[in-house]
Structures are given as C-alpha cells and as structure tokens.
Symmetry: C2
Subunit: 237 residues, 2 copies
C-alpha cells in the first residue's frame, strides 16, 4: 500500500537513527527533557525522525540508538514501533558504531539519520537510496549566506559559496564499505563531524543529492518553533 513502492520493490536497507546524545537542556524548551523527546506538532521529534524509515518499503529494519540510560526504559511511543533499540556511547561516532554492530548482514545499504531531524521527507530518503548502491550519498542544500574564511578576528577571504553545501542526513552507504571504513576510522582515531567524512577520509567517493530546507536539525530551543512552522507548511504524509 505504499504509493511509490514500485521504485523500491525489495527491502535492501537498514536505517540507523542516532539519538544517543546526552540531551543538553535547551533553554525555554522543557528543561530536563532530552531534545529528541520534545514535541513538534504534538509528535516527539525522534518519533517523527523514525517513522519515514519504518514506513519505507526499501527499509528492512530500523535501529534506534538511545542514550544508554534510556534503553531499559524507553519512551512508550517508541515501544509501539517495530524497532531495535541500542545503547549509545560517549561521542556521536560511538553511538553510530554501536548501531552498526546490530545491522543485519542481509542489508546491502545502511542509512544513518540524525534523531534530531524530524522533518525528513520520503523524497529525500529516496534521493539518497537511488545513489548509494555503489558509493556514499548525502543530501545537501545550498549555502545562501556570504561565507567568510578567517581566524583571530580577521577575514582571510570570501569563500566561493557556489562550491559549498550544507550536509544533512540520512546519509547512505553500502554496508560492507561502511563497516570497513568505520573500523579503520576507529583504529586510526579519525575526527569526523559526519558519517560521510569517514568515507571521504578513506578515499571513497561521496555523492551529493538534493536535500530539503525543512530537513533541519533541532539544536537550539528556537529550532523547535521553526520546526513547528515548517511542519504546518508541509503536507500531511
């Protein structure tokens, strides 16, 4: 009953949703509540981040990485979904690594998604899935601000923003290549701000596909309110 199931007739991917963060308090946004559990339009951010993958015909399993304290007593709205819950680690890369350990070997592709991106669309997921069968693929949006390069309070130059892109998630990778690259990253102690940089550092190409402006990451309290507005503007899926 998935309207666009024809484009992905088989389930060949695992999704790892990363929500292992310590959940720093966001001022004015329900202090003490982890940000991934706060609500947008009445629905928890993390549940919104998870559902498009649970419902996607190409996704065979969804693995959610939670703060380790929460795995034994997860929020009720997560238990209602067909998910595997895994304990996160100290750093984001530790959480991803823990999630990767339980990915089934039958999966050809692994999608890694931020649990703090509640407005990811089916279209963005499909854009990634179409391009990550042989190499990495990430959704990006253009940089619209004028970007300055500089340090110590002095501009060194204006960047060519036509060559700059803001990376989003889900980021998709062939499972075997990802496991090899992540293992090497951990052995050699690479510092990576996203999963694609692990591929980049390993010398494996990463493709850029169309992301979406509304696929924002909830970081500050105001982002929750922005997400409310954006959610109102999106069609009900």
């Amino acid at each position: 009953v998935h309207s666009s199931s024809n484009s992905f007739p088989e389930a060949f991917a695992s999704a790892v949703i990363v929500a292992g963060g310590s959940g720093l308090r966001m001022e004015g946004a329900g202090s003490g509540v982890r940000k991934q559990y706060l609500r947008v339009g009445g629905v928890p951010v993390l549940l919104r981040a998870v559902l498009p993958f649970v419902r996607h015909p190409a996704v065979a399993e969804v693995i959610v990485v939670l703060p380790s304290d929460d795995v034994s007593a997860p929020p009720e709205w997560l238990l209602e979904q067909p998910l595997a819950l895994v304990a996160g680690g100290a750093e984001r890369s530790d959480s991803v690594w823990n999630g990767l350990q339980v990915v089934q070997e039958e999966s050809e592709i692994v999608l890694i998604h931020d649990g703090a991106r509640p407005l990811v669309s089916r279209e963005v997921i499909d854009n990634v899935l179409r391009e990550c069968r042989s190499t990495g693929a990430i959704p990006v949006i253009p940089v619209t601000d004028t970007i300055k390069e500089g340090e110590s309070g002095l501009v060194s130059r204006t960047a060519d923003r036509a060559r700059l892109w803001r990376a989003q998630t889900p980021q998709g990778f062939p499972r075997k290549l990802l496991m090899q690259a992540y293992l090497r990253s951990r052995q050699e102690g690479w510092i990576c701000t996203d999963d694609a940089s692990v591929f980049e550092q390993a010398g494996i190409p990463v493709r850029m596909v169309a992301g979406a402006e509304e696929n924002l990451k909830i970081t500050r309290a105001i982002d929750l309110q922005f997400a409310e507005l954006l959610a109102q503007g999106l069609r009900h899926r």
Copy 2:
C-alpha cells in the same frame, strides 16, 4: 536619553540601508508586495531595519536606498522618519553606490545595512562601530552545519567549519577608504557578494565582530515567520 550614549558621545557615522531590490514575490507572503514592505509583528521589515540607526547617537544621518519606482511615492511610514531617500540601481552594488553618493563628507564611518534584516540589535551595531574606525568590520556568526566542498554532485572535502563564518550586516568602513575601494571596484568590474569583499579585493583588512543569530535576512516566505518568532523572543527595545 540613550542609555549607552557615553560610549559614542559624538555622531560620526552615516548609515546606508539598502532596500533597492526588485521585490520578487515570496510565495504565500503577500504576493506583489515588496519583501522589505512586509510586516513582522505589525511593523514593516524595512522600518525595523532603519529604526536602530535613526535612534543611534553615533549615526548622524540615515540614507535609505529604495527601488527607483518608489522614491517619488515612498511608503508613509518611511516619510515619518528623518531619512534621505535615494533611488536604487540594477544590482545591489549599484544601489550601494547610489547611496554612497549622498553621504556627507563630515562622516568618518559608513555603515551599510541590508533593508531585509529587521532584527539588528543596538549591540551588533556597537560591535561594528567599535572596530571600523581604521579598517572594515563585519558582524559574523559561526557556521553550525557540516559544510561540504564539491561540484558536479561529488564531495571533494569537508570544510573546516571552525574557520568559516556567516557574514551579516551592518558592515562598517572608514568613509574615504570605502569610496576609493568602491570606485576601483566599479572601474575594474569586481564581482562582490557583500561590501566587505570590496575591501578584501582591494587588500584592506576586514575585522570580524560578534553578530547575532536573530539578525537574519528575510529571503523566503518562511523567514518572515521565523522573524516573527525571533521578534517575540527579543526584549522590547
């Protein structure tokens, strides 16, 4: 009656507010109305952008660059303010240039501000004014997204975002240096996305000072709604 007038006991600056854009329609945001005339919290975007300069003790004059069609019949709320109105040109740099032609020679400093940035604070203006007496100064905020460099759909590398900054306005410059650099820019046809890049290309240092997240530029229809939220969160000034 300016609480912080002690830090700027004299008026030594001219402010040029650039709102010469053709005012492309923003979908769903009052089609046909120029974006700088749309309202945030009931107050026109351009009026919000202008008022902090009109009220600033260091600002001796405020020059507003309007679309050329509008100079003879400007919005009433602009006429109530002590402003000089100037007709804009085809490109943003033409509009700035037209504004610069009427800056009084007594001014030591010129501040150039986007008419589409309605939430500029007194603090950000002061940060710029303190650092632009001998060279250029611009407000910046950190880049928080992971930024990829790439082209033709392939990532070439992940940028070091600790060295990248998002440029805002007002940008402040010593008047004489600015006039010389802009003249040279026009003679040699430099392509610049902001006014500081004119200084950079002329080899004059530009300092970076603290901007503010809420000092956003209204570009898309959703930015108006973001600005509403941010305006609610700011103290009444």
